[in-house]
Amino acid sequence: MSDVTHDATAPHWDVQCEQRRITIAEFSRQAAPRLEIALDHGRQAQLVLTQAASADALAAALACLPQVGLLPAEGGLPATLPVAESLALALTWEREPALGSSWDQRLELAFGLCGFTLEESSALSRQRPLDLPRIIRWRLGLVRYLVRPPELLVLDRVFAGLAPAEAGPVRHGIAVFHALYPFRAMLRIDLAADDARHAIAPMEVA
């Protein structure tokens, strides 16, 4: 991990994607860009913010870019729709049918990599994320990105409110994604308070 930066107040963000580089800058200032992330280089960056509103604004700005996949702490899937329906929407809505007939196999593999057995994934498919614990919801959100990885995966405060002992599955998921897609970029957005508890550690690859 690299590029740990802190900000005092920055509620507005200017996020651009040009020539395979995503640039994140404070909207009001004319200073040099805050962070530049080159796609396809497998870079892992972190941005530590002091305000939740600032993080919300940044996540919303990044989510507008088609190259970005946003993975928040709650997984990002609609809470009241069954998991199977949400994943079908996430993976097949107005997409090229490039997944073809193998997408069931890739989905099964993705569930396995996230630590779900076949029986667990069948049972989870019929449930709503609303009824599931937060870590499981996050892992289900990761399943989607393991099948269709974005060019930049943004982890939005995934460690917020987690005790260090509870963060194991999240770290494992991040390591799995990086191991599967070593050339896909990743950005972690954390709040300063959570960052102190989940100090940057070397990525562990299973």
Binding site: G76, P78, A79, T80, L81, A88, L89, W93, L130
Partner: protein
């Protein structure tokens, strides 16, 4: 506590939503939207069959028996009252009321709960347009289901009426049915189904609007559901009145 939107705001909202849904009608061909349409058609239509059938049988037998007692069996007036009153007027109206009380409340509360849990934002982040996936299938489902339910209501109501008359008056069923079919007007039959389709679409539109517009709070869900049912009922009677006037002037 938030106040209810004004009538102008609501009418504007209904119009804008109708326009947005009409522009996106081609999305109905997408497999996921088609699947959602079938799901909502099942919820609004198939599950309403038992209550529709029961009400139709009871109403048909009661009404036709009463009319026969008033006007006699050998009376064109009675047959026309059965056709215009029961077949063309009451069947679409009562079916619409069944759908408003069941489906309108269900759609509004479902969408309001989705808003409460911020599912609209999640769907936008999945790059799924809300109109395509949430509103269009529901509106189309009610527009298709209501005429079908109306037709079933008409058949069962008239059939049970014939049966009641045949049993009470000791007449043959063929005799009772024959006089009715001689006076039935196919164009009015089609008009009743067209009226039902329009009513169904409007009920779906109103329910989707109030579910979408509900403030993200538990209290707002009940309020939105109440408004949806109330406005749906008004819409049903407005269309009913307008279609009656239209038939009157056409004749």
């Amino acid at each position: 506590m938030s106040s209810a939107p004004s009538a102008t705001t609501r009418l504007t909202g209904y119009t804008l939503l109708a326009w947005a849904a009409a522009r996106r009608w081609r999305s109905a061909r997408q497999p996921l939207v088609h699947h959602a349409f079938l799901h909502h058609a099942h919820d609004a239509g198939i599950t309403a069959l038992p209550v529709t059938g029961l009400l139709a049988a009871l109403l048909g037998a009661t009404l036709v028996t009463q009319l026969t007692a008033l006007a006699g069996t050998d009376s064109d007036l009675m047959q026309r009252l059965v056709f215009l009153g029961l077949f063309f007027e009451l069947a679409p109206l009562i079916t619409a009321l069944i759908v408003v009380s069941r489906s309108s409340a269900a759609i509004t509360s479902e969408l309001a709960v989705m808003r409460l849990h911020d599912d609209f934002t999640a769907l936008r982040q999945l790059r799924v347009p809300l109109v395509d996936y949430l509103f269009l299938p529901r509106i189309l489902a009610l527009a298709v289901v209501l005429p079908v339910l109306t037709l079933i209501f008409q058949v069962i109501a008239v059939g049970s009426g014939w049966l009641a008359v045949a049993l009470l008056q000791n007449l043959s069923l063929n005799e009772v049915a024959g006089r009715f079919l001689d006076l039935a007007d196919p164009l009015l039959m089609l008009a009743s189904l067209g009226k039902s389709a329009l009513t169904g679409a409007l009920i779906g539109l109103i329910a989707c609007y109030h579910g979408r517009a509900a403030v993200a709070s538990a209290e707002a869900i009940a309020k939105a559901t109440t408004q949806s049912i109330g406005n749906g009922l008004v819409a049903v009677f407005v269309i009913d009145g307008m279609s009656a006037l239209l038939i009157w002037f056409a004749q």
